[in-house]
Every structure is written in structure tokens, then in C-alpha cells.
């Protein structure tokens, strides 16, 4: 099975100039964890996910200082959450995005997701337009359905 047979073809995306709060609201409304960011020519320029939102809110040093626990929500977090209203997606998005093409096999998509630690990958055609998106859950479902 190729990824084009099981990918989600109706792709919701945001532009780099979309308001970050609006993009986050869209994620929550659609109950998905990430959206591709495309320019006016439908070329992929980044990914905006829950992880980017959390990275914007929490201090960057949390991963470097070892184990500790917040007993209260710091004031800075509240300020950063409010600051999202004045930020654009391009300020938060991840620019380096793992993608696959339409003819990638299911197993290869699974391998990429596992080794590159991604939960969703945009699918591009030969012209590098975004033509679909495939999530890890979809891959698992399709793989197990194929071999049942």
C-alpha cells in the first residue's frame, strides 16, 4: 500500500502570517496535534504543532537543568500565553519538516516516523505541493488492517 491510498487528502493548513492564537484554537477545535504551514503557492514552509506552542510557553532551559517540579504556574507562563495573541505562526513554527512523497510505502512512512520521531508527516507531490497528510495513528491502523 502506498501512502496516497490512505492519507488525508483534505488538508487544513495555516499561513505563516496566521495569528498564533488562532492557529492554536484551530488545533484544539479540530482535535489534532499539528498543522502544516504553507505559503500562498501551497508550498510547505513549516509545521505548527502543540509541541511548538508548549515550547513557546515554557522556558527554554527546562530541558537543560535536570529534574525539578513546578508547584505553581509561574507568572511568566501566563504572560507568554497572553503574548501568543500578538504572535504569528512563523515566529513559532518548526521550519525543518519531515515529509514523504505520494508513492512512499506504508512501511517506509512507519520507519520515518519512528526514526525521525514525528507523529505526522505532510505528503508532497512531485511539484512539492502539499497534497495530503498522514498521522501516526493512520499508519498503525492501515498497517494492521493490511495484515489482519
Amino acid at each position: 500500500m502506498k501512502v496516497k491510498e490512505m492519507m488525508t487528502k483534505e488538508v487544513t493548513s495555516v499561513s505563516p502570517d496566521t495569528n498564533a492564537q488562532e492557529a492554536l484554537d484551530l488545533l484544539l477545535e479540530m482535535q489534532i496535534s499539528g498543522l502544516p504551514v504553507t505559503d500562498e503557492k501551497n508550498k510547505l514552509v513549516g509545521m505548527f504543532t502543540e509541541k511548538e506552542a508548549l515550547s513557546a510557553i515554557l522556558p527554554s532551559y527546562v530541558e537543560k537543568v535536570g529534574r525539578f517540579r513546578y508547584e505553581e504556574n509561574p507568572k511568566a507562563v501566563r504572560q507568554k500565553v497572553l503574548a501568543l495573541r500578538n504572535m504569528k505562526v512563523k515566529e513559532l513554527m518548526r521550519c525543518s519538516v519531515v515529509t514523504v512523497d505520494e508513492d512512499t510505502t506504508l512501511c517506509e512512512v512507519a520507519r520515518i516516523m519512528l526514526t525521525q520521531k514525528v507523529r505526522r508527516t505532510p505528503v508532497l507531490n512531485k511539484a512539492k505541493d502539499v497534497v495530503g497528510i498522514v498521522a501516526r495513528g493512520d499508519v498503525v491502523k492501515a498497517l494492521f488492517a493490511e495484515y489482519k
Binding site: 522556558p59 527554554s60 532551559y61 537543560k64 537543568v65 535536570g66 529534574r67 525539578f68 517540579r69 513546578y70 508547584e71 505553581e72 509561574p74 507568572k75 511568566a76
Partner: protein
């Protein structure tokens, strides 16, 4: 240009080449910091291809024992971080009774300095900056003065022991100095510099301290702050503290143990962290690979390895002996002049260059003075303190400065300007270096 300079100094081809390659590496680190490892790889390869040095001597000069020491310490620090030791230290700050701005400044300065004595300056500054940002966020005050204070005292503290800065272990092994030598000679002088620095900072930032006092009155202090961050005391934390304590114990007694066991100088100093790290990796066998792959800074260590090898080439070719003779020709073998020259050159140099690069370059020159019957003792201390204190003068003077300001810019979108740092850094740098100079030339303990 370098060839012409080499001719004037009376250097031969290999000597000129070794200086050129090393100079290019230094300039590369100055202007292309991200590519420093590439410069180190290529420069070392050129030295081998041109037969400026051979493989056996290259490996000998690369000071693998120091690299292994640093690896052992990094594994232990990874263990400590995972156990939450640093969060525990920060929660100690938050528990200061009747917190005031002055107490806060003194506490972060002393903790920064002492932490930098025990672990590497980059690890200690990351945690101090994190603590300062969290606390200043709560009190809604500008964190910049406190971050600058913490960095200045971190750089000072890193001169106090062999552990604090890679240049400490580098000088200890090349000069045959022990941990005890550092504790009796470097640590007290570091404390004097620290005290003077805290006094300077209290005056320099008196307005910020008044603002913080006002905020502490408005917002209330410890009852809420103490709940902000916590690390529950656990058995694991106590065990990790014990492991680190035992390692420090053996490091502090290494000289006496080496004499007792008839071992080569600094053997136990260098292997104590390896033994502890080895035992830790047995205890935490499922995380052992993580400690090695994630907590050991391989990029930095490889750079050091090749930098030391290139610096060793300067000695191998005799280039630094020529330079040493030229310097003595100018200053005479008057120890006071030489001490001043080494101290102030390394202070000024360290304000621009990375201190490990600078000290690695100076060591063979200082070793060259030995052949000229110069008393080496004060020169080594001059190099240590110059390398550490000079890092305070500019905001690029030390890795701790760059790391701290990078975090500040990322979290607060605040940039410290060159002169915002320079005036306080220069004041602290010059005064502390001056104190060290007076101590080195007047006190018999340094002769």
C-alpha cells in the same frame, strides 16, 4: 604576514608553521565559533601532513588524561542533574528567611561561585540563570543585573578549584599542582575576589536592589515563593550527593594517596571521576548510554583534544621556547615582571578569546620559562586567575557569559549591550586582577 613575523623572531619553518596553524585555529574560534571543530580537524591534519609533528607526539600532547577526567565529571554531573540536585540547591535560595534584595544578591553570588568550584561553569550558570529568571519573574523585576552578577561570580569561582574550569585541570596537570595546592592558594584568593566583587555589585546595582526590596514588600516573600519550585528529597538524591561527595573527597586527598601508593603525580586526581562514573554506570546501567551520549559534550571535548595537540606542537617544535626567551629578553627574568606579564596578558586575552584556547596557548610558553631558571609558581597562578578573571571583562569573554545572555535573550527578548556589560565587567575584572597581582608578588605562599 605570519611568515615575515616568524623570520623576525628567528623561527624555523616548522616553528613558524605550528604558530601559523595554531593562530588560524584561534582566529577561527574568534570569528567562526560554530566551525571551531572543523578548524581543529583541518589544522591538526596539516600539522601531520607537513611533518611538523608525528602521530605519537600528537597523541601525547592531546592530553587524553584531561579529556577522560572531563568525561568522568560530565557523567557525574548528568547523574546529579537527573537526581534534581540543582533544583534542590535553588530551593535553598527560595527558603532564605526574611528575604531581602541584598540577601538575594549575596546568596546568588556565593552559590554561583561555589557551584562553579564544584562543577563546570556552563552547567552551573544554566541553573543559576534559570533560578534567577524564575525568581525575578515572580517579583516582576529586571533580571539583568542579577544575571550579570551571577556570571561574574561564576567566572571568579571557577578559579577556586581544579574542578571549576577546564583550565584548572589543564594547569594542574601541566604544572604538577595538586588539589591541595588549589585549596590553599587559589581558593582563598578566589574568596577575597568574590567578597570584593559582591561589594562592588551592591553599589553598582543599588537602584535595582531598592526596586527589588520594594517588590518584596508589595508581593510578600517566602511563603509563596517557596512553593514555586521544589524537588522532593528522595533517597536517590542523597545517594547521588554521597557519590559526588566521595569523589570530591578522593580528589581532595589525591596527592597524599599518590605519595602513599607510589603513583605518578595526579593519577588519582584524573581517575577519581572515572571510577565514580564507572560505578554510577553500573548502578544506573539502563541509563549508562544516555549519560555517555547526552551528558558528555563530545563536540567540546574533541575540540579541546585537538587544541591541546596543536598547542603541544608549539612546544614540540621549540616555537614557544623561542617566544619564552624573547619575553624574558624584554622583561628580564625578574619574577615580578614576568608574573605581571602573564597575568595581564592572560586577563586581556581571556576577555576576547575563549579561556581554554588562551591557556592552552600560554602553557607551553610558561613551560619554556622553566629552562631559563625562572620560578614557575607565581606564573601558573597568574595564568589561572588571568584566564578566569579576564572572562568577566566583555560579554564574549567566557562561555558562561554567552550561555547566560543567550538564555536571557531567548526568554525575555532582552539583549545586554556591549557597554552595559563592559563597564561593570571591566571594573570587576581590573580590580580582581589587581588584587591577584598584589597577592602573587607579595605573599610568600605564591613563591
Amino acid at each position: 604576514m605570519l611568515g615575515w613575523g616568524a623570520k623576525i623572531l628567528g623561527l624555523d619553518l616548522h616553528q613558524a608553521l605550528s604558530i601559523s596553524i595554531f593562530s588560524v585555529s584561534i582566529l577561527g574560534t574568534l570569528f567562526f565559533w560554530d566551525f571551531r571543530l572543523s578548524f581543529a580537524f583541518l589544522g591538526t591534519s596539516i600539522l601531520l601532513i607537513t611533518k611538523t609533528i608525528d602521530l605519537d607526539n600528537l597523541i601525547k600532547f592531546s592530553s587524553l588524561e584531561i579529556i577522560l577526567f572531563l568525561i568522568g565529571m560530565m557523567v557525574l554531573i548528568g547523574l546529579l542533574k537527573e537526581a534534581g540536585l540543582f533544583a534542590w540547591l535553588v530551593s535553598l535560595i527560595l527558603r532564605i528567611r526574611n528575604l531581602s534584595a541584598t540577601k538575594f544578591l549575596i546568596a546568588i553570588s556565593i552559590i554561583s561561585a561555589l557551584l562553579a568550584c564544584a562543577v563546570d561553569e556552563v552547567t552551573s550558570i544554566i541553573f543559576m540563570v534559570a533560578a534567577i529568571l524564575e525568581i525575578c519573574d515572580y517579583f516582576e523585576v529586571n533580571p539583568v543585573p542579577f544575571i550579570i552578577s551571577s556570571v561574574l561570580t561564576t567566572n571568579i569561582g571557577s578559579a577556586g578549584t581544579v574542578l571549576g574550569n577546564p583550565i584548572g585541570i589543564l594547569i594542574a596537570t601541566k604544572a604538577g599542582l595538586s588539589f591541595e595546592d588549589f585549596i590553599t592558594r587559589a581558593f582563598p584568593l578566589m574568596l577575597v575576589c568574590l567578597g570584593i566583587t559582591i561589594f562592588i555589585l551592591m553599589i553598582w546595582y543599588r537602584r535595582t536592589l531598592r526596586e527589588l526590596d520594594q517588590k518584596i514588600k508589595e508581593l510578600g516573600a517566602n511563603e509563596i515563593l517557596v512553593r514555586l519550585i521544589s524537588v522532593p528529597p528522595e533517597r536517590q538524591l542523597k545517594i547521588c550527593l554521597g557519590i559526588f561527595g566521595v569523589t570530591l573527597f578522593f580528589i581532595s586527598l589525591h596527592h597524599r594517596l599518590e605519595l602513599f601508593l607510589g603513583l605518578e603525580t595526579n593519577t588519582i586526581l584524573l581517575i577519581a571521576p572515572l571510577i565514580s562514573a564507572g560505578l554510577v554506570m553500573i548502578w544506573k546501567w539502563e541509563k549508562a548510554r544516555d549519560y555517555i551520549e547526552k551528558d558528555v559534550e563530545w563536540w567540546t571535548l574533541l575540540f579541546f583534544l585537538l587544541l591541546f595537540a596543536q598547542a603541544g606542537t608549539l612546544k614540540y617544535t621549540g616555537a614557544t621556547d623561542v617566544l619564552a626567551r624573547k619575553i624574558v629578553g624584554i622583561t628580564g627574568s625578574n619574577p615580578h615582571f614576568l608574573t605581571a606579564a602573564i597575568l595581564w596578558l592572560s586577563t586581556i586575552g581571556s576577555s576576547i578569546l575563549d579561556n581554554v584556547v588562551l591557556v592552552a596557548a600560554f602553557i607551553p610558553i610558561v613551560q619554556g620559562f622553566q629552562a631559563l631558571s625562572v620560578n614557575m609558581q607565581p606564573l601558573w597562578w597568574a595564568l589561572l586567575f588571568g584566564g578566569c578573571l579576564g572572562g568577566n571583562i566583555t560579554l564574549v569573554g567566557s562561555t558562561a557569559n554567552i550561555v547566560a545572555l543567550g538564555i536571557l535573550e531567548k526568554e525575555k527578548k532582552q539583549r545586554v549591550s556591549f557597554f552595559q556589560w563592559f563597564w561593570v565587567g571591566l571594573t570587576v575584572g581590573l580590580i580582581t586582577a589587581g588584587i591577584v597581582w598584589v597577592a602573587l608578588v607579595t605573599l610568600p605562599i605564591y613563591r
